[in-house]
Symmetry: C2
């Protein structure tokens, strides 16, 4: 399975905000919707800081 | 393995620009560097259009 954990970086600290994320899509400017394996979703105001597919880790930077 | 194929969307057509991408990082504004499994890299001026981790497909939109 290739889902990732998504972290939100704020004040230089990374917080795990969602596990097993299956898809990420932008909605509007600087907002992303994260979609989980089980159909759950979360909206985050942030920009992409890093996508590490091999490490299953995606870091968003809070705005 | 969880690397993805990266497509660049231009004039509503999607073109495969890199296979087996291991990581994607922004460098500056609206520019991303794609890093491949074998150490290869590619710079693309684009924004994120969609990240489908389960489908191993990432779509960037050309600027």
């Amino acid at each position: 399975m290739c889902e990732s954990n998504v972290y939100l970086k704020k004040d230089n600290k990374e917080e795990l905000i969602m596990e097993n994320v299956a898809a990420i899509s932008p909605i509007g400017n600087d907002t992303f919707i994260l979609k989980g394996l089980l159909g759950e979703s979360m909206e985050v105001k942030a920009i992409i800081e890093d996508i590490n597919l091999m490490g299953h880790k995606i870091i968003l930077k809070a705005l």
